[in-house]
């Protein structure tokens, strides 16, 4: 302590003192910076919900009676069995998943069938919110990223296509569910 006091009395002493402590001061600054940097990293103040939004909408289409077969008497829904009467009515999705306000997310459900020769034949498609689908699909095709662009989720699931409600006339199909959620 006495040595430090002596050193501080003249210029040479002050320089020595500064040199001795320069690393310590720098180290403290780095430690403080690192501390706040790590805290900032750890606090999650931004949540990316696009994937959850897309999955929720896809599951709503797949699990609801929007397209799936429903037993008349019990209202039981047969998930995984597509009612082709609903599918062929191109407004089924818009009627079933209805919002009062302008919906941003859009979806497309496509059905394909594999024939005995192993070829996959396209059966048809149905849209939810087709206007938005056309707009958002254009941004995806253009490869745009960031705000104003969109994120797409695709699932393909083997299902049964039922042409009547009693399941007398049916086929095995592949259902492709595509959902687009805007990046905002």
């Amino acid at each position: 302590m006495n040595m430090t006091k002596n050193n501080m009395k003249n210029k040479k002493g002050q320089i020595e003192y500064l040199l001795q402590n320069a690393f310590r001061i720098g180290f403290t600054i780095i430690a403080l910076l690192a501390f706040f940097l790590l805290i900032n990293y750890y606090i999650n103040n931004k949540i990316d919900t696009r994937y959850v939004q897309a999955e929720t909408l896809a599951n709503r289409i797949m699990l609801s009676d929007a397209l799936m077969l429903q037993e008349r008497g019990t209202s039981r829904i047969y998930t995984g069995i597509v009612d082709m009467n609903k599918f062929n009515d191109k407004t089924s999705l818009d009627k079933s998943i209805k919002y009062e306000f302008n919906r941003h997310a859009a979806a497309k459900v496509k059905l394909s069938k594999k024939d005995v020769y192993g070829n996959v034949n396209y059966i048809g498609d149905i849209y939810l919110n087709k206007n938005n689908w056309d707009n958002l699909k254009t941004t995806i095709n253009s490869g745009a990223t960031g705000k104003g662009s969109a994120t797409m989720l695709i699932k393909d699931i083997p299902v049964t296509c039922a042409y009547d409600t009693d399941l007398n006339n049916y086929d095995y199909c592949i259902m492709t569910v595509e959902v687009i959620v805007p990046n905002s």
Binding site: Y42, Y51, T79, G80, S112, D156, T160, Y170, I174, T176
Partner: protein, 189 residues
């Protein structure tokens, strides 16, 4: 300059050497933490979500398969065919129905491959059947890429994935477990 020489020569200089190694160790630890945070922050959460939703897809596929009328015998569902096969101890009809139901996915995947950027693709669908005491009865795997179906006499338990779904089918005497295991899902950004 003379001042620095003096410092490094005396006892204070030794202290500074200790400080130097401490700073170096701190910098390395800091770097490791930064790398760890950058890698883990969002990806872990997204990966957890993907696994959860992929498991729901596996459940949907299993449900869809079991409820669908069998192409082997149109008056019965695939679940009934499996239950009957378990009683007869011959799963040939189950294998046939599995092949007929799940093939076709490969064509759709191939088509999507050209159109979209995939994070990971559906690569394998497995069906595993166990008896009430959880012993393996039969298992089939459909490889989307090689388009082949294989028996899983050995690998059903070993290759168990977290993206799976399991349900129970009642039989005449007891019940059996049926499990679907998915590898992959298609996500585009």
């Amino acid at each position: 300059m003379n001042g620095i020489k003096k410092i490094t020569r005396n006892r204070k200089g030794e202290d500074m050497l200790v400080d130097f190694w401490a700073i170096l160790a701190f910098a390395i630890i800091l770097l490791l933490f930064l790398v760890f945070f950058i890698l883990s922050k969002n990806e872990v959460k997204n990966a957890e979500l993907r696994v959860k939703f992929a498991s729901s897809d596996a459940g949907y596929m299993l449900n869809s398969y079991l409820k669908s009328p069998s192409l082997v015998d149109g008056s019965k569902t695939n679940a009934e065919i499996i239950a009957e096969d378990a009683l007869n101890d011959d799963f040939s009809r189950t294998e046939d129905s599995f092949k007929k139901f799940f093939t076709g996915v490969e064509k759709i995947n191939a088509e999507l491959e050209d159109d979209y950027i995939k994070h990971y693709a559906l690569s394998n669908i497995k069906l595993c059947i166990y008896d009430s005491s959880d012993s393996f009865l039969a298992g089939y795997s459909f490889n989307v890429k090689t388009k082949t179906t294989t028996d899983l006499y050995l690998y059903c338990d070993i290759l168990g994935s977290i993206t799976n779904a399991k349900t129970m089918i009642p039989t005449r005497d007891s019940f059996i477990y049926v499990e679907t295991v998915l590898f992959g899902n298609i996500i585009s950004k």
